[in-house]
């Protein structure tokens, strides 16, 4: 589903590479934790998958497409197959929960009847049934992240990228979010989650890829957060 072949990314000429010769493959339907200290290259990895950045060297394949040959105008179509969730939720404060989720479908031109049926289903799935008319500031952090997940998942992407989705949440709430991501993974969606949260990683026992200063130092199935040290 995602394949990196000797991928390097250097942001500024002469600077230390953010990613250095990374080669890895994530299969369809996998759940992968991406761990490592700040600045280890986790976010760069996710940005390369989204094609927000292009690699300095090497090739990135996502959903069967070679991103180095993907033309700019096809990038939106790539992104429709990828959902993304962030630490800071990135919700629109002046829109309701329903509108926030519907927005993702409106802007890719989905018909109204499709939106009217899909959005409530997705809100139900993430456990926000009955809160459609609330605005983001009326919700708890955990609920806001659920809205963000609903927005990322509403178009049924084949890949869900999560960049420290529990970074702003307390352990109990985080656990709820993890259950939700696990449930989404069980529908066949590939999930890649960058995180600092060792408790969660240790608890979930999924594949763990560790990055350190841009290099992949560990790739372990059913791994834990800190076994390499």
């Amino acid at each position: 589903m995602i394949r990196f072949e000797n991928v390097s990314k250097v942001y500024a000429r002469g600077a230390r590479p953010a990613l250095d010769q990374v080669t890895l493959e994530v299969e369809r339907g996998e759940f992968v934790f991406l761990v490592g200290a700040s600045g280890s290259g986790k976010s760069t990895f996710l940005r390369l998958v989204m094609r927000e950045e292009r690699p300095t060297a090497g090739k990135v394949f996502v959903a069967g497409r070679d991103l180095s040959t993907l033309s700019t105008w096809k990038v939106p179509h790539l992104r429709r197959q990828i959902g993304a969730v962030f630490q800071d939720f990135r919700l629109l404060p002046n829109k309701t929960v329903f509108e926030n989720v519907a927005f993702a479908l409106q802007v890719i031109g989905k018909p109204r009847h499709h939106i009217m049926t899909t959005v409530p289903d997705t809100l139900e799935l993430v456990g926000l049934g009955g809160k459609e008319k609330r605005r983001p500031h009326e919700l708890s952090g955990g609920e806001q992240q659920r809205v963000a997940i609903a927005r990322a998942f509403v178009n049924r992407p084949s890949i869900l990228l999560a960049d420290e989705p529990t970074g702003n949440l307390d352990p109990t709430t985080s656990l709820g979010i993890m259950r939700l991501l696990d449930r989404i993974n069980r529908t066949g969606t590939t999930v890649v989650m960058a995180t600092h949260d060792d408790e969660i990683v240790d608890q979930m026992r999924k594949r763990v890829i560790e990055l350190s200063t841009g290099e992949m130092v560990r790739d372990q199935s059913r791994g834990v957060y800190g076994s390499a040290r």
């Binding site: 989204m50 700019t72 105008w73 990038v75 939106p76 179509h77 790539l78 992104r79 429709r80 197959q81 990828i82 993304a84 990135r90 629109l92 927005f103 993702a104 409106q106 802007v107 890719i108 031109g109 989905k110 018909p111 109204r112 939106i115 927005r151 990322a152 178009n155």
Partner: protein
């Protein structure tokens, strides 16, 4: 869904930046009014040229008794000189420019002089012998006056070659200068308009960075993201152009047709229909300006 969504986005953008939108409208309004005024002035000049140049001729005055030009040193024009002038007018290098030639004798000149000047006390002193005979030449293309003048001026027996169009030159000079001033002001205002539209679109794009960020994230196409901003600029500019057309129409209707037309009646003025022919160009300029500004701005602020 799409259209409705884009329209609502445009509405939000225009309202959120109301003061900027109004300033874009006003600046395009003023600048395009000047552009339109320049166009109408030129239209007026063309119209007057069309009207008058048909009626004017080139007069070649021949030497009369007592002419002081060096070419008239031999006294009154002789039959021989006339023949050579006529031959010259039929020569292949001039012939194509000349439509008709008509010879006015001294007597005919005297007749028309007496008609026009009958009430002047000094006219009684003038006799036919004082009047110059002349060739009245109608040119095929009045702009080619210089060719004819060059050949005939300085020839023995020719006192003066006079282009009646010269009489209008000062009027056209004033109108052309006014056009230049209009274009100058229009240019500066258009530059201001482009900068303002650019700034407005940039502000609008900045204030909706959150939205556009999410749009990019979920895979909205570039066009879909940029269209509302482009249309915002285009709508503001178009409203400005519409106001300019309205102002020009009112100006021509009340200032030119009613007031000036009442004061000076012998000129055929531009009218409201001329404004309507200029209108599409003004609208086109507004839209092109807005398009250029948005393409330049958006390529920098909402890239994939």
């Amino acid at each position: 869904m799409r259209l409705q969504f884009i329209l609502s986005e445009i509405g939000i953008g225009l309202r959120r930046n109301l003061s900027m939108s109004v300033s874009v409208i006003l600046v395009t309004f003023v600048s395009l009014t000047f552009v339109g005024a320049a166009a109408l002035l030129q239209q007026q000049i063309t119209q007057m040229k069309d009207d008058w140049y048909d009626k004017v001729e080139v007069s070649v005055f021949l030497c009369a008794q007592g002419s002081e030009e060096p070419t008239c040193a031999a006294g009154e024009v002789t039959e021989e000189q006339r023949t050579s002038i006529e031959a010259e007018l039929e020569a292949p290098e001039i012939e194509p420019y000349v439509q008709t030639v008509y010879f006015e004798t001294k007597e005919q000149a005297f007749e028309s002089f007496r008609e026009k000047m009958a009430d002047q006390w000094w006219a009684a002193e003038v006799t036919a012998a004082d009047m110059p005979s002349s060739y009245r030449i109608k040119l095929a293309d009045p702009e080619m006056y210089q060719v004819v003048a060059d050949v005939l001026t300085g020839r023995q027996g020719v006192e003066e070659v006079l282009d009646q169009r010269r009489l209008f030159d000062s009027l056209f000079l004033v109108l052309n200068r006014a056009t230049l001033v209009s274009i100058g002001i229009a240019g500066i205002m258009l530059l201001a308009a482009v900068l303002l539209i650019t700034t407005t679109i940039r502000l609008s794009a900045m204030s909706r960075r959150r939205e556009t960020g999410i749009m990019r994230l979920v895979g909205a196409s570039n066009l879909f993201i940029q269209l509302p901003f482009m249309l915002e600029g285009a709508i503001a500019a178009t409203v400005g152009a519409a106001l300019a057309v309205g102002a020009l129409w009112l100006g021509v209707r009340y200032l030119v047709t009613d007031w000036l037309g009442g004061q000076v009646q012998w000129i055929d003025y531009v009218d409201s229909t001329d404004v309507l022919t200029v209108a599409p160009f003004l609208l086109a300029i507004a839209i092109v300006l807005a398009a250029i500004s948005s393409v330049v701005t958006l390529s920098r602020y909402t890239k994939v």
